[in-house]
């Protein structure tokens, strides 16, 4: 560990230029030698397309669930064929069988679930609902920034913070991270560079020499981030023992987030998304453990479990939360799929999480208990979940700027 950091420090300083090392870099690089309070990190995952929460965390104790989903329900844990059945969590809820990799995290008390959660806005438009959830202001379209950006404490002018303090593994900065604080979108850590060594040198001197203060500062920030990320890349990244990321984009994203966290380069907020959840037709194969949803969940569960294992001794500093813009109809439709619904489930994983419990009041699935006679009703506002995690990450008790016009209700997710 020490050797790696020593190497990292030298190569990063060399790239930035000796004597010109910015404060954040000094702090990050020397942290290993003089332990300081480590930064808490919040990781948010967006399941775009409206994941079917009722088949992900299955209310197997609900008779109505099986009545409304005659061909696509996940069988009760008591079913003969266990590989195809829900994995029981508490006698009432169970995990989809494809999420088996997450069961040990649950058993260890590091994974919590909030069910019947989501955005109170009634829209069933993917576009509007994702926008509201990322803005953190359901129903208010004029909000221009995102809750994750507002949750960053403003950097002190003398020390503009790590260039990767807020990062999205994406080609553009998603709505959730846009705003006054600096945040970077990086599709791939390895690609964050000028793809031409000659041009890089020319750009560096042009931006160092410019009299335009804003562009000068931006150039500094960008070349620092580039140097930082390249220095991390100098050594092959080997995930911790037992962490096996699945193939595919989502696993890649989580592996890179873990890599950044463990490199201790000042990450405070990280965001990644994972698509492919909009299953209007043939959501489930011949068995519940087969088909489109099962395939998405296999990748999802493996990636989250690998991330958790990979964090290793950093897991106490990290909270991860998942969300999706809305849930899906309680009843299956005519095409063995589900349509756009309302409330959903959220996963919360972290060292400080009081896991092994399903949080939130269960509204029931009897016809009269459904939202607009069709969807799982909402009992927990997603902002209640996020607010606790933001507080835990930043230590800031006042969240009026993060979630304006809203008073989050405590859930007690964190110990």
């Amino acid at each position: 560990m020490h050797t790696r950091r020593f190497f990292l420090r030298n190569s990063a300083l060399a790239m930035v230029g000796a004597g010109a090392a910015p404060l954040w870099l000094e702090r990050a690089l020397y942290a290993a030698d003089a332990p300081s309070p480590r930064k808490k990190i919040l990781v948010a995952i967006f399941q775009r397309g409206a994941a079917d929460g009722l088949n992900i965390v299955v209310p197997h104790g609900e008779k109505s669930y099986y009545e409304m989903r005659p061909t696509i329900a996940v069988p009760r844990p008591s079913a003969a064929e266990t590989a195809n059945a829900a994995i029981d969590l508490d006698g009432f809820f169970g995990l989809h069988p494809a999420l088996a990799p997450l069961k040990p995290v649950w058993d260890d008390g590091h994974l919590a679930i909030v069910h019947a959660a989501g955005s109170p806005d009634p829209t069933r438009s993917h576009f509007d609902a994702q926008d509201f959830m990322e803005a953190g202001t359901p129903g208010l379209k004029a909000t221009t920034d995102g809750w994750m950006n507002r949750a960053l404490s403003p950097a002190k002018p003398a020390d503009h913070g790590s260039p990767v303090r807020a990062i999205a593994l994406d080609s553009t900065l998603p709505r959730v991270l846009r705003g006054a604080n600096s945040a970077v979108a990086i599709q791939n850590l390895r690609d964050f560079q000028v793809r031409n060594a000659g041009a890089l040198g020319a750009f560096q001197s042009l931006y160092a020499d410019t009299h335009d203060t804003a562009l000068h500062a931006l150039g500094t920030e960008t070349f620092e981030a580039m140097a930082l990320l390249q220095s991390i890349q100098k050594q092959h990244y080997e995930p911790a023992a037992g962490a096996r990321y699945p193939g595919g984009r989502f696993g890649d994203c989580l592996r890179q987030i873990a890599q950044l966290i463990k490199a201790e380069v000042g990450v405070e907020m990280a965001f990644a998304d994972v698509g492919g959840w909009d299953h209007h037709v043939n959501e489930v194969g011949a068995l519940a453990s087969e088909g489109q949803l099962a395939a998405r969940l296999t990748e999802f569960g493996q990636a989250l479990a690998a991330f958790w294992a990979d964090l290793d001794d950093r897991c106490d500093d990290v909270s991860l939360v998942t969300m999706s813009e809305f849930g899906r109809t309680a009843r299956e439709n005519g095409g063995r799929g589900t349509d756009h619904g309302h409330a959903n489930c959220m996963f919360v994983m972290g060292g400080g999480v009081r896991g092994g419990r399903v949080y939130g009041k269960w509204p029931g699935l009897a016809p009269e208990q459904l939202y607009e006679s069709r969807d799982l009703a909402l009992t927990t506002d997603f902002r209640d979940v996020l607010a606790e995690l933001v507080k835990g990450q930043s230590g800031n008790e006042d969240l009026t700027k993060v979630f304006p016009h809203y008073s989050p209700k405590p859930i007690g997710l964190l110990s």
Partner: protein, 563 residues
Amino acid sequence: MSARKIPAVLTAVLILGLSLDARKKSDGSAAAQFRQPMAKAEKPEHALNRLTFGARAGDIQRVQKLGVKKWIDLQLHPDRIAENPVLLEKLQPLDTLGMSTMQMLQNYPSPALVKEMAAGKLPFPEDPDKRMMVDRLAARLAAKSDSGVPDRPSLDALLQPDQVRTLRTAPPQQKVELFASLAPALQYQVLENIGQGLRMQLYAAAPPALRRRIRSAYGSQALVAQDLTEAKLLRAVYSNCQLAEVLADFWYNHFNIYLDKGADHFMVTAYERDAIRPNILGRFEDLLRATAQSPAMLFYLDNWESVGANSPAGQRRKRGLNENYGRELLELHTLGVDGGYTQKDVTEVARCFTGWTIRQPNRAAEFEFNARMHDDGEKTVLGVHIPAGGGIHDGYQVLHLLAHHPSTARFISRKLAIRFVADDPPESLVNRMAATFLSKDGDLRAVLKTMFDSPEFWSRGAYRSKIKSPFEMVASALRAMDAEVDFTSGLNNQLNQLGEALYRKAEPTGYSNSSQEWLNSAGLLARMNFSVALVNNKVAGVKVEPAQPSDAAALGSPDFQKK
């Protein structure tokens, strides 16, 4: 343009930029900057920076020769400018640009519409080539739903052995020649059985008409969006009516619509063509009304579903008022967020617009006033009483009121000044523009003229004070390099990386006109990499003359980011 001239254009930009920065330092407050005139020699370049998508080689001299004032006056009257024949030729194959929504649905259907055609619910396209394409798509969809995997004969079953060999191993040009010689039906079969790499090779080397066929074989509705973005880029790069193109971009962005919101995919083309472009130099009220009645806007901001609570439709169904359009109309389109309205006004405006809906949203998609959805009670908007029983005139009255409101005059004037003058334009200028707006019945040409004639526009505070948006940066680089743009998928990818995907700003706010928005690391890195890629001819569909490596540094430099 010769390779040698390129750096000359760029170097001029560099030197001028540096000299400004040096002077700016020695000067005083921001207000003083706007009182201090720029040098006479700087004016042609400034005019080009602000009224166009960037100077081409020789532009500065041309503006100088004509006289800056005369050149601006000409740009304010695009009907007097002969359009560039190169542009017209490049736009010619993009046939969706001239189609109605219904024609687009028919000729470039989505998979759902292909199914409807197959089921006899929608007529097939008349054009035999497009008909064939739709038949192929229908067959593929049918095969997919039967077995889950479409049936795929191998290339060997479709072509002669030597043809297969040519397609697999010959140089791209020969591959295209062979492909072009096949019967259209066979072309579609071949396209369905080759990989992405070969497909891209054929696409890049094919002439425009064949390229369209290749593209349409993989989901023809994508051509609608492709034509839109391609036309926007081509016009920015090639049009002689540069100010008109800048204004079309400005007003589309002001009345922004997200192309990927469901049915809007097929409605944005008509929206931009029929509601925005004819009105950019006309009366603001006409522009406002055209957007208010466009199916694209009614769909995007949900007004088409908004139902008065006491209307016949509202009583029968459980649907109600949707305030989305009402709110954005006040906040983003007219008064501005500080324009002096209340939540009550938002609700009242929304009530006025109930019944403004879409006839056949997934077909012809035309504006319709449906009295059965309209709340016909009395309303009060911004203190003005609107009596009961007004029907469609409630909405007209609101639009008229808003289009002549002093807050709107200020909000629009200020936004134009931010786009054309400076990020924080002086109040003195905004006030004079707003006065013109109010006295000239919202004549947008007159408002622009007030701005272009103002000392603030020609001041040191304005000169090279703004950062280009990614779209402006890309277009200005193509113009400075005299690039030949053949197709634009590569440029669109670049714009996605740069953070300004065309027609794909999801929020009704549109993209920011302020420099600050574009100052972030990912964006700056993308600008540098775009510059390197462009100069090295690595952007698909774009060719530049072999140029010096230092051109990449010039395009990615701090000074080239400014305008």
